[in-house]
C-alpha cells in the first residue's frame, strides 16, 4: 500500500500512465501491432505482461475487429493499439464498423511528436480528421499530464449511452514525457447525457396503445443486448403476449425457442416477421434503428401501424420512420417500466399467423436448405448441423455474404451475446479476427466462425494470430468458389452476367497446414456430421473445416432491393402468397 502511494506520487512516462490507466479500467486484454510512433508504449507493455495480455495480430484491421469480437461477446470495452500513419489507416475499416454497429472500443494510435504535427513528418497522418466521422469521440494526447484524464474519459464515453469507438491519438512526446499518475474514473461529462430520464407519461401512453392493440408486434435490435435488457424483454413479451422479431444484430437476445420469438427481420429474414410488419396495428421497436435492409423503401413500410420507438440515441427517433410515440430511454429501464404498465394479454390467433408463415417457410424454403436429400451439400445443412452438434450453445461469428445470411437463418441460440457479425458496414474479412477476439474473451465457449472463400481471404493472415495464441476458433469455410452473394445478385438482377465473381482458390488445407491448424475437407454429405463432431471435440483446438457446398445456391427468402417487406421471393421465380 505504502509502495502504491509512493508510485502514485512518483513521476512516470505517459506510456506507463497509459498502461496503469488501462489496468485501472479493468482491461486485461489488448489487441495490437507495434511501430515507430507507438514504441514507447510497447516498451511499457513489456513491463505489464503479467497484468495485460497483448495479442499480436497480423494487420491492424484485425486488431480492431478482434477487439470488436471481444467486446461483443464480453460486454466489455475492446482495446486496440496501433502505430501512426499506416497503422492508423489500416485500423479505419474496423473503427467504421464499430461505429455503425455501436461497439464500445478504445483505439490508441501512436502519433508523431507534437512539435512535428502538421509538417508531413514520417508516418504522420491526420488521424483525428480521418476518424472524426466514424468515432463517438476522439482526442489527441499531446502531454503526459493528459493521459490519465483522456483514457478515463475515453472509456466512459465508449461504453455508456449508445456505445461506440473512441480514438486516442497519442503523440510520441506525450508517451515519453513524464507526469504523476493520478487516475480518476470519469462518471460524468457535462455536455453528455448517456442515460436519459424515463418519461413516464410517454410510457403510459405507449402502454395504453399496446393494451388496445389487436395485432401488436415487437421488433428489437442490438440495443437489447447493449443495455442488458434480455430478461426485461422476455418478461415484457410474456406478460403482454406479443410476438417479437429480431434484427440481425439483435439475434440471440432472446433464445431461439422462446415461444414469442418469431424470427429475423430484413432482406433475408423470416417470412412471418416481414409480412406481419405490414399487418400489425401497433409496432414497438426497441433498440433498433430501422436500417434500410430491414425496412426496404420506407414509403411502403408499416404504414398501417402506430409505431412506438424506444432508443437511447435521440437522433434515431424519427430519423427513418415517423413515430407515434418516441421514447428516448435505455431499453432495460423502459421495458421494465412498460412491463409494469401493460395489461396481461394474449394474442393467440395473431401469433398463430406467424406460426403459419413459419410452417410455409420451412416447407417452401428451409427444408431444402437444411435437409436436402440429393445434390451437393448446402450451406444451411452445414450451419444447422453445427447448431445441432453444438447444442445451440456456440458463439456464432460470421463473415459477410451468403454465409452470413445463412448463419443468421439457420443457427439457433440458447444464450445471449452469441452472434458476432458485421451488420451496418458489412465488412468482408471481419469474421476471422472477430472470432479470435471472441474466443479470447470466452475461451470456454465454442466459437464457430462461418465464412465464405472470399471473406476468409480478406484477412486470412490472422491464421497466424490463431497459431501464435492457440486460439481455439472453429473456422467453417463454406466454399462455393464464388463471391457468392454478389454472384446471386448478378444471377437475379444482372442477367446472370458473372462479372468477376469467380474465385480461383488456393488449397485451404495446405494453408491450414502451414499454420499448424487442424483441418479437414468435406465433399460428401455422409461425412458432414462426423466431421463437425470431430471439429467440436476439443474446445481449445483451432480447426479449419472446409466444406464444398453447392456453387450456385442462392439465399432465400429474399426481399429484392427496392421492394417492400411483404414482397418476398421464395426462389428464382416464385413469390410468397399467404
Amino acid at each position: 500500500m505504502a509502495d502504491n502511494q509512493q508510485t502514485a506520487k512518483a513521476e512516470m512516462t505517459g506510456g506507463e500512465i497509459l498502461l496503469r490507466s488501462l489496468v485501472a479500467e479493468g482491461v486485461k486484454t489488448v489487441f495490437g501491432y507495434p511501430g515507430g510512433a507507438i514504441m514507447p508504449v510497447y516498451d511499457k507493455i513489456y513491463d505489464f505482461k503479467d497484468q495485460i495480455r497483448h495479442i499480436l495480430v497480423r494487420h491492424e484491421q484485425g486488431a480492431v475487429h478482434a477487439a470488436q469480437g471481444f467486446a461483443r461477446v464480453s460486454g466489455q470495452t475492446g482495446v486496440a493499439i496501433v502505430t501512426s500513419g499506416p497503422g492508423a489507416t489500416n485500423a479505419i475499416t474496423g473503427i467504421a464498423d464499430a461505429m455503425l454497429d455501436s461497439t464500445p472500443l478504445v483505439v490508441i494510435s501512436g502519433q508523431v511528436g507534437a512539435s512535428l504535427l502538421g509538417t508531413d513528418a514520417f508516418q504522420e497522418t491526420d488521424v483525428l480528421g480521418m476518424t472524426l466521422p466514424i468515432t463517438k469521440w476522439s482526442y489527441q494526447i499531446r502531454r503526459a499530464e493528459d493521459v490519465a484524464w483522456a483514457v478515463a474519459r475515453a472509456f466512459y464515453i465508449a461504453h455508456t449511452g449508445r456505445p461506440g469507438p473512441v480514438v486516442l491519438d497519442f503523440a510520441k512526446n506525450a508517451q515519453v514525457g513524464k507526469a504523476t499518475f493520478n487516475y480518476k474514473p470519469v462518471r460524468f461529462i457535462r455536455s453528455y447525457l448517456p442515460m436519459p430520464d424515463l418519461d413516464d407519461d410517454k410510457l403510459r401512453r405507449a402502454a395504453a396503445l399496446l393494451n388496445n392493440a389487436k395485432r401488436p408486434l415487437v421488433v428489437y435490435g442490438q440495443g437489447i443486448i447493449l443495455s442488458r435488457a434480455e430478461a426485461e424483454l422476455a418478461a415484457f413479451i410474456d406478460k403482454a403476449g406479443i410476438p417479437a422479431a429480431s434484427t440481425l444484430l439483435g439475434l440471440s437476445a432472446l433464445p431461439s425457442d422462446n415461444p414469442h420469438y418469431k424470427g429475423m427481420l430484413g432482406m433475408h429474414g423470416n417470412i412471418g416477421p416481414n409480412i406481419k410488419t405490414n399487418e400489425c396495428d401497433v409496432m414497438i421497436a426497441v433498440g433498433m434503428r430501422f436500417d434500410d435492409r430491414v425496412t426496404g423503401p420506407v414509403e411502403t413500410y408499416a404504414r398501417q401501424a402506430k409505431i412506438i420507438h424506444i432508443d437511447i440515441d435521440k437522433a434515431e427517433i424519427g430519423k427513418i420512420v415517423p413515430v407515434e410515440i418516441g421514447i428516448h430511454a435505455d431499453a432495460r429501464q423502459a421495458l421494465a417500466r412498460l412491463t409494469e404498465l401493460v395489461n396481461p394479454a394474449r394474442h393467440d390467433a395473431w401469433e398463430a399467423e406467424f406460426d403459419k408463415c413459419n410452417k410455409d417457410e420451412i416447407e417452401l424454403v428451409s427444408k431444402g436448405e437444411t435437409n436436402p436429400e440429393t445434390g451437393h451439400i448446402t450451406m444451411g445443412e452445414v450451419i444447422s448441423t453445427v447448431a445441432r452438434e453444438a447444442k445451440s450453445e456456440a458463439i456464432v461469428v460470421t463473415d459477410v455474404g451468403q454465409n452470413q445470411m445463412m448463419s443468421a437463418r439457420y443457427s439457433t441460440f440458447a444464450k445471449t451475446r452469441s452472434v458476432v457479425t458485421s451488420g451496418g458496414l458489412g465488412t468482408m474479412g471481419f469474421g476471422l479476427p472477430a472470432a479470435v477476439g471472441a474466443k479470447i474473451a470466452c475461451p470456454k465457449r465454442q466459437v464457430c466462425f462461418f465464412t465464405g472463400d472470399g471473406g476468409l481471404q480478406m484477412t486470412e493472415q490472422e491464421l497466424g494470430t490463431i497459431m501464435q495464441e492457440g486460439a481455439g476458433v472453429k473456422i467453417i469455410l463454406l466454399n462455393n468458389n464464388w463471391l457468392g452473394n454478389v454472384r446471386q445478385w448478378q444471377e437475379l438482377f444482372f442477367g446472370a452476367r458473372y462479372s468477376f465473381t469467380r474465385l480461383v482458390n488456393p488449397d485451404f488445407m495446405k494453408l491450414a497446414e502451414a499454420y499448424g491448424i487442424a483441418h479437414r475437407r468435406v465433399e460428401k454429405r455422409e461425412d458432414l456430421g462426423e466431421a463437425v463432431r470431430d471439429m467440436l471435440k476439443n474446445v481449445d483446438e483451432p480447426y479449419l473445416l472446409e466444406v464444398h457446398v453447392e456453387e450456385m445456391d442462392n439465399v432465400f427468402p429474399m426481399i429484392p432491393p427496392g421492394k417492400g417487406v411483404s414482397e418476398i421471393m421464395l426462389n428464382e421465380k416464385d413469390w410468397y402468397k399467404a
Binding site: W137, H159, T160, R187, F188, R190, S191, K319, D330
Partner: protein, 189 residues
C-alpha cells in the same frame, strides 16, 4: 417534396479544439450548404456558441440538430425559424472617396439606409450597415453606382425571443445529475 426555408441553428459547445469540424461535416454529409456561420462566446462562461443559417426542410434540420447534439462536446443545439429570433448581420462597404465627394445624394443615401461611415480618408471611405440580408444587399446595390471596391457581409447572429439562454436550464439539470453521479450513486451506464 417538403418545403425548404431558412433555419437558424444555434449550438452551444464546450471550448475544445475541432468542434467546428465536427459540426460542419454533419451538414456536408447531407449535402447541405451552410449559408452563414458565426462563432462566438455566449452569456455562459466557457460556453461557445455557433450560429448557423441553412436553407433546408424541417425534417432535415431536425435530423441535423439531433446529430450535432450527439457529439460529445456539444451541450445543446436548437433550430429556429426567422419569426422566433431577433437576428442581424453586419456589412462593410469600401468606396472611392472621390466618387462620393462629387455626389450630392451620398449623405442622404447613408441616412436613408441607417448606415454609418466608419472611416473616411482621401482615397477611400468605409461604410457599415447592420440589418437583415435584404437591407445590406439593398445598400450594396444603391452604392454600386459609386463603384464598390470591397464588400463583405458577416454571418448571422441571433438571439431568441425568450429571456434566458435555453441552454442554462440544461446546465442546471446537468448539475443535479453530476451530484447524483459523483455521490457514488448508481453508476450511469
Amino acid at each position: 417534396m417538403e418545403q425548404e426555408r431558412l433555419y437558424t441553428v444555434t449550438v452551444y459547445t464546450e471550448n475544445e479544439v475541432g468542434i467546428l469540424n465536427q459540426i460542419s461535416i454533419i451538414f456536408t454529409r447531407r449535402n447541405l450548404n451552410i449559408w452563414s456561420l458565426t462563432v462566438s462566446s455566449s452569456a455562459l462562461e466557457g460556453v461557445h456558441k455557433f450560429t448557423i443559417a441553412c436553407r433546408t426542410t424541417q425534417r432535415l434540420i431536425e435530423a441535423v440538430v439531433k446529430a450535432i447534439e450527439k457529439r460529445i462536446d456539444v451541450l445543446k443545439a436548437f433550430y429556429y425559424t426567422d419569426d422566433e429570433i431577433i437576428y442581424q448581420e453586419v456589412a462593410l462597404y469600401k468606396v472611392q472617396t472621390d466618387n462620393i465627394l462629387e455626389s450630392p445624394d451620398f449623405e442622404a443615401l447613408i441616412r436613408r439606409h441607417n448606415a454609418q461611415v466608419l472611416e473616411i480618408n482621401r482615397t477611400y471611405t468605409v461604410i457599415q450597415k447592420t440589418g437583415h440580408c435584404d437591407d445590406t444587399q439593398r445598400l450594396y446595390e444603391d452604392l454600386s453606382s459609386y463603384g464598390v471596391l470591397q464588400f463583405v457581409r458577416s454571418g448571422r447572429v441571433a438571439i431568441t425571443k425568450s429571456t434566458a439562454e435555453r441552454v442554462s436550464r440544461f446546465l442546471e439539470m446537468q448539475e443535479v445529475r453530476e451530484r447524483k453521479a459523483l455521490s457514488g450513486g448508481a453508476e450511469m451506464k
